[in-house]
């Protein structure tokens, strides 16, 4: 099979600490990147812009949340609000004539600064109380965005986002927007992959496991929590800005409501806490599930010749989505990433399964 | 040694080669066998981490709460294997476990502690048992109205024992009841234990590090070391045993560390 190999021989530390020590993995990553880069050639623009693109942006966002939730172990129920801050910051900057490249950096920085407010909550309390205070902060930010006309754009409440311009060049084609999303997603993924290997990444994990124990061995949990929240907020802010720039093209408060925060959480949980590949799976799963569910239901109703009310059709996917979260927590709490890992571990030594035992 | 274990028929509790693992991996006791005769008082002695509490939990079924399980061996109560029973069913059969460190319900009054502990008994029995507990521990009666968290350590230990008695046990297991108590209190509590044992025929399995006090009231003792029973004898014989005197009764001041290591090695040999 794809992964089969007799063993792993490393002759120096660099090899041991490589991102992908197994050659088959390197081939696979290369192949996937190639597929992603050439996607506009073989996918029609509907798929490209309404499935692939939001998936990539949401994956980047989910990775940012995973940094806080999966690695630093800090609950965050206000992630969408932070994304919203980035989105609004970018749109306002653009409307003020700031080039888009700089606008999204501004978006990230604004989000990082305001998002660090959440960190101050995390420095005082944890667990349940952190979850509740971040939830409350989400409400405060929602409220602020929608009630301050200077932010939300006044009574019309929808703020048109100017077209993206990169190096003075307007990017409006589906393929162009797709590449913007792809680059952002790859950037975040690379950052997260490397974070695992840095002192920061290890310190975060230490803080997650037991913050006072981490403190005893000299990890300043105060500092690392702050850094974790700031970093993840930066990613959230830019992701929010990219989402508006490439996908929604207009920004409203509802795009970043508490439901969206829960959706982001669901992506991380379904994908697997702390799993990078899991964030891809989780984001894809949560985004595609309602659509897939709708087609499935209409297929079923067609098959059995009954019809469902509009209300039922509108709410059923949502209910199933709740059921899915419950199901994942009960059956595979570590999510799709773990399932993938299990399959991969199995294939790694297939057909010599006994090697592991 | 053999002569004592062979009272099979009259044993209320027998453990046969019980092995316990925590978290599916860590082996805490490795084949413990012991027996408590009907109406008898038996001590289980051993150092920190030897596996005393684990043994008791394997009997009361509380391992489940700590992700532990009996992987091998049999726990039999009154001749019936009870390995598969839930903790509450074992309590109903008559096994009571006084946890290490007292663990009273802090926000409840002593009175309520006793009521809560009668969940497996009828309301009528509960009232009767409560009177009995108060007669053993009059001090609890005096303090029955204030939150148990504010009781003194000795009173809390009495409450913990009283709470166990509320379940109408046939076998009472106590995990280090002397922990952190003044000697006169320990003596008082042990007095009451032997009184209950005498008057009601309650069988007692007493886990202790305070071997001096424990060996005064029990008839037999087991010595457990790193998860294995290494010695079993009458209380009299154990008190005379030089090893026990050295390491559990605090005799022989002038021994040095090398002798201790030597002793440990010798112990392993024996088992």
């Amino acid at each position: 099979m794809l992964f089969r190999q007799a063993g792993i021989l490393h002759t120096n530390y660099a090899q041991d600490r490589a991102l992908f020590p197994i050659p088959a993995d390197r081939w696979m990553i290369g192949g996937l990147l190639l597929l992603a880069a050439t996607a506009p050639l073989y996918l029609n623009s509907l798929y490209l812009s309404s499935y692939l693109l939001p998936w990539l942006v949401w994956t980047a966002a989910a990775l940012g949340l995973n940094l806080i939730l999966g690695w630093a172990g800090q609950f965050h129920l206000g992630y969408a609000a932070v994304m919203g801050i980035g989105a609004y910051a970018a749109v306002h900057a653009q409307r003020a004539g700031v080039p888009w490249e700089i606008a999204i950096v501004l978006a990230g920085l604004t989000a990082a600064v305001i998002g660090s407010v959440f960190a101050f909550a995390a420095l005082r309390v944890k667990g349940l109380y952190l979850a509740l205070s971040t939830l409350a902060l989400q409400f405060v930010m929602d409220w602020t965005i929608s009630h301050v006309p200077a932010i939300s754009g006044g009574t019309q409440a929808t703020l048109q986002a100017p077209d993206i311009r990169l190096l003075g060049q307007a990017v409006t084609s589906d393929a162009g927007l797709y590449y913007v999303a792809l680059v952002w997603c790859v950037l975040v993924t690379t950052f997260m992959l490397n974070l695992r290997r840095t002192a920061l990444g290890r310190a975060l994990v230490a803080v997650r496991e037991k913050d006072y124990a981490a403190a005893v061995i000299g990890v300043n949990s105060f500092y690392f929590k702050l850094v974790a929240f700031a970093t993840s907020s930066f990613i959230a802010g830019v992701s929010g800005a990219v989402l508006i720039g490439t996908f929604y093209h207009a920004v409203t408060p509802e795009q970043f409501s508490v439901d969206v925060s829960i959706q982001a959480l669901a992506m991380v949980i379904v994908g697997g806490l702390g799993s990078i590949i899991g964030s891809y799976f989780g984001a894809g799963f949560i985004l595609l599930m309602p659509g897939a569910m709708n087609s499935f239901i209409s297929w079923l109703t067609g098959l059995f010749g009954f019809s469902l009310g509009i209300e039922t059709l509108a709410h059923l996917p949502h209910a199933l989505y709740g059921a899915l979260i419950i199901g994942f927590l009960l059956l595979e709490p570590l999510g799709l990433g773990k399932i993938y890992g299990n399959v991969r571990d199995y294939l790694l030594v297939w057909p010599f399964g006994y090697v592991k035992k | 040694m053999a002569a004592i274990t062979e009272a099979k028929a009259g044993n209320i509790l027998t453990l046969n080669n019980v092995e316990v693992v925590y978290d599916y991996v860590s082996l805490a006791i490795k084949g413990v066998s012991l027996a408590v005769p009907q109406g008898g008082m038996v001590a289980l002695l051993g150092a920190n981490g030897a596996g005393k509490s684990t043994t008791l939990k394997s009997i009361s079924g509380l391992l489940a709460a700590e992700r532990g399980e009996v992987r091998r061996g049999e726990v039999a109560f009154q001749g019936q294997p009870i390995n598969a029973l839930m903790p509450q069913d074992r309590v109903r059969l008559g096994i009571a476990h006084v946890l290490e460190g007292r663990r009273v319900f802090e926000h409840l009054t002593p009175d309520e502690n006793l009521i809560a502990a009668s969940a497996v008994r009828s309301r009528h029995d509960a009232a009767r048992n409560k009177d009995r507990v108060y007669s053993y521990f009059p001090r609890l009666f005096e303090r029955r109205g204030s939150a148990a968290g504010y009781l003194s350590g000795g009173e809390q230990q009495m409450l913990a024992i009283g709470r166990a008695l509320m379940t109408q046990p046939k076998l009472l297991m106590l995990d280090e009841p002397s922990l952190g108590l003044a000697p006169f209190l320990v003596a008082e509590i042990f007095q009451i234990l032997s009184r209950i044992n005498r008057e009601d025929g309650l069988s007692v399995l007493l886990v202790e590090q305070n071997a001096i006090a424990a060996l005064e009231i029990v008839s037999h003792g087991y010595l457990i070391e790193s998860g294995r029973i290494v010695m079993h004898d009458t209380a009299e014989a154990l008190k005379r045993n030089p090893d026990i005197q050295e390491f559990y009764l605090g005799g022989a001041e002038n021994k040095n560390f090398r002798d201790i290591k030597h002793y440990r090695r010798r112990k392993r040999w024996l088992t």
Binding site: G73, F75, A121, R124, V125, K126, L128, Y129, A131, L132, S133, L135, A136, L137, F139, V140, W143, D211, S221, I262, L265, I269, E311, T312, A314, H315, L316, H318, A319, G322, L324, I325, I326, L329, P333 | S60, L62, A65, P87, Q88, V91, R92, A96, L99, R103, V104, F105, E106, H107, L108, E112, A116, A117, A119, V120, R123, A126, R163, A164, T167
Partner: protein, 295 residues
Amino acid sequence: MDILLLLESALNGALVGLMYSLVAMGIVLIYKSSSVPNLAQGAMVMLAGYVILAFANQLHLPIWAAIPLGIVTMFVIGIGIERVALRRLAGRPIIMILMMTLGIEIFLRAGSMTIWGGTSRPLPIGISDSPLFLGPLLINRAYAVGAGVAVVMFVLLVLFFRTRIGVVLRAISDDYTAAWSVGISVERGVALSWAISAVVATIAAVLWGSVQGVDQSLALLLLKGVTVAVLGGLDSIGGALLAGILLGIVEGTASVVLDPLLGGASRELVDAAMLILTIMLRPHGLFGRHDIERV
């Protein structure tokens, strides 16, 4: 500022606050027995409202029969939720448990709307619209009834916790290993607390449904419930009652003062601010126990 208007808002606020307490008490009940913060309490209120309406409208039962049937149904549903979703998560990290209650929230909310639709329906329980007068102050009759029921509910719960079963539940919340050691069936106790909490949610559903109709907005009571529960101390029923009154008064007066300044809808802001302030300044609430997760 019109002092009478302020007084009137404070008074009505206190009554509404007592109705929030009903939601909070459900959260407290579950938290007390199993340390699970139930973020699905609002959705349970909503579901209860729909269940009662189903008995009343679809089976054409009179409301006085639909309500007890709703209570019984919710009792069973409460047990079911604990049995299916929560029991297996015992001992898991709080992140998982919170996420589970959120999943239940989504499932119950969307599930009720899948079955019964999202349009708001009235749940008339025969309280007249005409206000009560207390001197010159107008009092909303429905709020007054709701507040009265909340107080009765509180008294009933306090009495319940004095009974044998109630004492057992409190013992479980104190130390569940010790509870196990004396033969208490901890799982059954926790299931019972979910059942009672679902019943309390049903009562809340009747009162809130009669005030604002039955629809998705009932689930939004969660924020109020959580704020009141935390403010009162998460494991204190009495705390929930007093915190409800407090939040209601603050909300009522703040909306009079702030609404003209902020352009309306200041209640949510006040709730969120109260929640944050409580957690930051006094995480164990006004009447909660000290053992609290703090860094």
